[in-house]
C-alpha cells in the first residue's frame, strides 16, 4: 500500500515556501529603502502621512515614498501570511515544537514591524536599524526552517537511494521486527509497516476517514466507510467491553492506558501519531539520516559566522561606513589601511569577515563533497552556497567600485541572506538525525497486552488524573448554572400548582 503526503501537508509546505519567497522580496524592498536613503521619506508610523497605511493613495507613492511605503505594504503582507502560516501549523501539524516555532515566527515578524516603526520614529538610530536588519535575517531563517520542516523529504528523513522508496513494501525481516500494534488495538492502524524508510514522527497523520477505512479493511468489513461511532462500537465489541458505546474520549483514554501513557488524555491526532510510531522498525531510521558530528559542527559554525558577518555588514550600512574604505581590493592602496577610525574599522572587519566566511564555506563544501557526495540533500546546498558566495563577493566588490550603486548594493544584501539560508538548510539537514531522535517521546511497548492490563490495574488511578483548571472552573460554573436553572424551574412548577 502506498501512502503519499496528505494534500494538506503539501499545501502547507507550498505555503511556507510562498512565505519564504515573500520574505526575500521584503528583504530586497528593505535594502532598497536603505540604498535610496528613503527610510524617513514617510515620517510617521504606523500611519503614512496621516493616512491609514492601506488607504494611502497610490498617486502619492512618489520618489522615495514608493520604496518606503512599498516596504511597509510588503511587510504587512508577510505579516498576514505569517499569521496564516502560524495558525495553519498550530491547527494542522502534529509536532508541538513546530507549532510553537510557527508562533515564534509570528512573534518575530511582529517584533520586526515594531522595530521598523521605532527606527522611523527615532530617526534611524544605527542600533535599532541594525537590529531591524538582524531580525529580518532571523525571520527569514525561521520561515526557511518551517518550509524545510514541512517538506516531504524532511519528513521522510532523507531516505537513501538504496533504501526502499517512499511507500514501498518492506522486506520480510523488517516486518518480522515490527510490532503490529493495530492487531492489539483495532482503533488505530499502523501504516509504518508499509513505510519502513520513513522517520516515525514526521510522517503526516493519515486522515480520520483513512484510518476508519483501514480499520474496516483489516476486519474485512466491506462497503462504504462506517461511521466513527460504529467503528468504535466494533472496537469495543472486539475487546468484549460491555455496555453502551464509549465516548471517543474514553476510548482514547483506554488506548492510552494500554500503552501506559500517563498524564491527561492526548488528542486523537496525537494518539494516532503515537500508534503510528510504535510499530516502527528500529534501526532503519538512523541508517537513513546522516549522523556526522564533524559535518554538524562545521555547518553550524559556518552558519553562525555568516550571520555574524551579516550583522557587521548591517552595522556598516547603517553607520554610513559603506565607503569608509573607498578602494578595492586594496585598502587606501595598502593590504591593510594605513589610518583608522571607527567607520574604517567596521568596514575593514566586514572585509576580513568576508574572507573568513568564504574560507568556512569552502571547507564545509569540500567536506560535504568528500564525505557525502552521494547525498543530494547535502551536496546540492553545498554546491549552491559556493556559487552564491562567489556572487556575493563579486557584488561586495562592485558595491565599493560603483560607489554604492543602488541595485548592486541591494542585491548584495539579498544575496547575503540567501547565503545564510542556504547554509542554514545544510546545517538543519546535518542535524536531521538528531531531530528524529528528539521527537520520539513514546517508545514502542512490546510486552504482552494482558501483562500491561494487569500492571495498569495495580497502578493508582490518581497518578494520571488530568489537571485542567480551566475545565474544572467551567465544570463548576456549569454545575452552578444547572442548579440555578433547576431552582427556577422548581419554583415555577410550585407557582403553577398553586
Amino acid at each position: 500500500m502506498s501512502h503519499q503526503p496528505s494534500a494538506m501537508t503539501t499545501m502547507l509546505h507550498r505555503f511556507a515556501k510562498l512565505v519564504v519567497a515573500c520574505t526575500v522580496l521584503l528583504i530586497l524592498a528593505g535594502s532598497l529603502v536603505t540604498s535610496h536613503d528613503a527610510g524617513l521619506s514617510v515620517p510617521d508610523w504606523p500611519t503614512s502621512y496621516g493616512w491609514n497605511m492601506f488607504t494611502f493613495p497610490p498617486s502619492m507613492w512618489v520618489a522615495n515614498i514608493f520604496y518606503e511605503h512599498g516596504h511597509r505594504l510588503i511587510a504587512s503582507t508577510v505579516g498576514f501570511l505569517t499569521i496564516i502560516l502560524a495558525t495553519w501549523l498550530w491547527l494542522a501539524d502534529a509536532r508541538p515544537w513546530l507549532k510553537w516555532f510557527g508562533a515564534a515566527a509570528l512573534g518575530a515578524i511582529i517584533a520586526q514591524g515594531v522595530l521598523g516603526g521605532l527606527t522611523v520614529l527615532f530617526f534611524l538610530p544605527a542600533a535599532v536599524s541594525t537590529a531591524h536588519a538582524a531580525l529580518a535575517e532571523i525571520f527569514l531563517c525561521m520561515t526557511v526552517a518551517i518550509a524545510l520542516f514541512t517538506s516531504p523529504r524532511w519528513m521522510e528523513g532523507y531516505g537513501t537511494a538504496e533504501a526502499a522508496p517512499y511507500g514501498a513494501e518492506p522486506d520480510d525481516a523488517a516486518l518480522d521486527d515490527a510490532v503490529p500494534y493495530s492487531a492489539e488495538n483495532p482503533l488505530v492502524v499502523s501504516l509504518s509497516n508499509h513505510e519502513p524508510n520513513r522517520s516515525s514522527f514526521d510522517r503526516p497523520v493519515p486522515g480520520k476517514r483513512l484510518i476508519l477505512r483501514q480499520a474496516q479493511d483489516e476486519r474485512g468489513v466491506e462497503g462504504p466507510v462506517l461511521s466513527k461511532r460504529l467503528i468504535l462500537r466494533q472496537a469495543q465489541d472486539e475487546r468484549r467491553v460491555e455496555g453502551p458505546a464509549l465516548s471517543k474520549r474514553l476510548i482514547l483514554r483506554q488506548a492510552q492506558d494500554e500503552r501506559r501513557v500517563e498524564g491527561p488524555v492526548l488528542s486523537k491526532r496525537l494518539i494516532l501519531r503515537q500508534a503510528q510510531d510504535e510499530p516502527r522498525v528500529e534501526g532503519l531510521r538512523t541508517s537513513e539520516c546522516i549522523d556526522d558530528v564533524t559535518l554538524r559542527r562545521l555547518a553550524t559554525a559556518t552558519t553562525a559566522l555568516i550571520f555574524l558577518q551579516i550583522l557587521i555588514g548591517a552595522a556598516m550600512r547603517h553607520t554610513g561606513a559603506g565607503l569608509a574604505i573607498p578602494d578595492f581590493p586594496w585598502m587606501f592602496g595598502h593590504v591593510v589601511p594605513d589610518h583608522w577610525n571607527g567607520r574604517i574599522a567596521v568596514h575593514f572587519t566586514h572585509r576580513a569577515g568576508a574572507l573568513i566566511v568564504t574560507l568556512g564555506i569552502g571547507i564545509l563544501s569540500a567536506y560535504v563533497w568528500s564525505h557525502h557526495r552521494g547525498r543530494r540533500e547535502l551536496a546540492q546546498p553545498a554546491a549552491l552556497i559556493v556559487a552564491l558566495v562567489v556572487i556575493q563577493v563579486t557584488l561586495g566588490a562592485l558595491t565599493v567600485l560603483t560607489r554604492r550603486d543602488i541595485w548592486i548594493n541591494s542585491l548584495h544584501v539579498v544575496c547575503g541572506a540567501l547565503v545564510l539560508t542556504t547554509s542554514l538548510v545544510l546545517t538543519l539537514r546535518s542535524w536531521r538525525a538528531r531531530f528524529a531522535r528528539a521527537e520520539v517521546r513514546l517508545e514502542a511497548d512490546t510486552t504482552d497486552i494482558t501483562v500491561r492490563r494487569k500492571e495498569r490495574v495495580k497502578k493508582p488511578r490518581t497518578a494520571r488524573k488530568p489537571r485542567n483548571p480551566q475545565r474544572e472552573f467551567l465544570g463548576v460554573f456549569r454545575g452552578l448554572c444547572e442548579f440555578c436553572f433547576q431552582r427556577v424551574r422548581l419554583q415555577a412548577d410550585r407557582r403553577g400548582r398553586a
Binding site: 512618489v62 520618489a63 522615495n64 514608493f66 499569521i83 508562533a103
Partner: protein, 266 residues
C-alpha cells in the same frame, strides 16, 4: 483543544492587527520652549557701525551636481530645464561666491537683543528649498511651507537641537518650529526628494547674513568692538576674519575660499 487553538490564533491576529492599526497621528507643528527674556546691555544705535564684505572663490568653480527629478512627475513638470544642485552659487565673474553664511562668531559680550517679531521662512517650491541657506534666531519661529502639489517631508538634522521630521503631503500646508539652542549650521533635507537640501544658521544675536550671487554681504548695527567673523560654506568649510569696529564705523572684510583645497569643519 481546538477551541484553545482557535483562541491562540485569534489572539495572534488581534496582536498583529493592533500593531498595524494603532498609533498616533502626525504632529503638524513642533515648538521648543520660548527663549528667555533678554537681559543685558543694549546696543546703542548712535554708536553702532556696519561690516560689509565679499566672498570670493579662488580657482575654478566646481560644477554643481546634476539633479534627476524623474522620480516625481510633479517635479519634472515644474522644472523644464536641466536642474543642478546649489552648492556653488558663483557670480557672472566666476569669482563671487553666494550662499555663504557669514556671522559674528565671537566678541559680542553680554548684549541683549529684541526677539524678532516676524518668523523665518522656508518654502518648498518646485521641489527645491527656498532659500537654500539662511539664518534665524534662537526662539524665533520658523515657518515651513509646502507650495508644491506634491508631498514633501522636512527633516532637520541638528546636532545640538532636537531632530524633527515633518510630513507635508498637501499643497499649502504650513508648519512651524523653533530652535532653542544656537547652532551653525542645521541641515535640512527632504527624504522624499533626495536632492532637496538647505541649511540654517541658528544664532542668539542678529549679526548674520548670507552672501548673494555677487558674493556680497552686510552685518548691520554692530556695536563698537573687536569681533571674530566667520564665513561658512556647505562644501568649502569655514574661514574666519578678525575685525575691530569703532563707533559709527563701516569696515570692509573679505573671505576667499580655495576651491581646490576645501577645509571642511562641519
Amino acid at each position: 483543544m481546538r477551541l484553545r487553538n482557535a483562541r491562540v490564533g485569534l489572539l495572534g491576529m488581534a496582536l498583529a492587527t493592533a500593531v498595524v492599526a494603532c498609533g498616533g497621528g502626525q504632529e503638524t507643528s513642533s515648538t521648543s520652549a520660548p527663549a528667555a527674556a533678554p537681559s543685558g546691555e543694549r546696543v546703542d544705535p548712535a554708536t553702532a557701525g556696519d561690516v560689509k564684505g565679499m566672498v570670493t572663490l579662488d580657482g575654478a568653480a566646481p560644477k554643481n551636481e546634476a539633479i534627476k527629478m524623474n522620480a516625481d512627475p510633479v517635479c519634472v513638470k515644474a522644472n523644464s530645464t536641466p536642474q543642478f544642485q546649489e552648492t556653488y552659487e558663483v557670480g557672472t565673474d566666476g569669482k563671487a561666491l553666494g550662499n555663504v553664511f557669514v556671522y559674528v562668531k565671537d566678541g559680542l559680550g553680554n548684549y541683549a537683543y529684541d526677539p524678532p517679531t516676524a518668523p523665518a521662512k522656508i518654502d518648498q517650491q518646485n521641489c527645491r528649498y527656498h532659500p537654500h541657506v539662511f539664518g534665524m534666531r534662537v526662539g524665533q519661529s520658523l515657518e515651513i511651507l509646502n507650495s508644491d502639489p506634491t508631498l514633501h517631508n522636512i527633516h532637520a538634522l541638528p546636532k545640538g537641537n532636537s531632530e524633527f521630521n515633518t510630513g507635508q503631503p498637501i499643497q499649502g500646508m504650513k508648519t512651524t518650529h523653533t530652535f532653542d539652542k544656537k547652532e551653525v549650521m542645521v541641515p535640512f533635507k527632504c527624504d522624499v526628494h533626495g536632492w532637496m537640501n538647505a541649511y540654517v544658521g541658528v544664532l542668539d544675536h542678529p549679526y548674520y547674513a548670507v552672501s548673494d550671487k555677487e558674493g556680497k554681504f552686510e552685518l548691520k548695527s554692530l556695536p563698537p568692538g573687536t569681533y571674530t567673523v566667520e564665513a561658512w560654506h556647505e562644501k568649502l568649510g569655514t574661514q574666519t576674519v578678525s575685525v575691530t569696529l569703532g563707533a559709527k564705523e563701516t569696515k570692509d572684510i573679505s573671505f576667499t575660499f580655495k576651491s581646490a583645497a576645501p577645509t571642511v569643519t562641519n
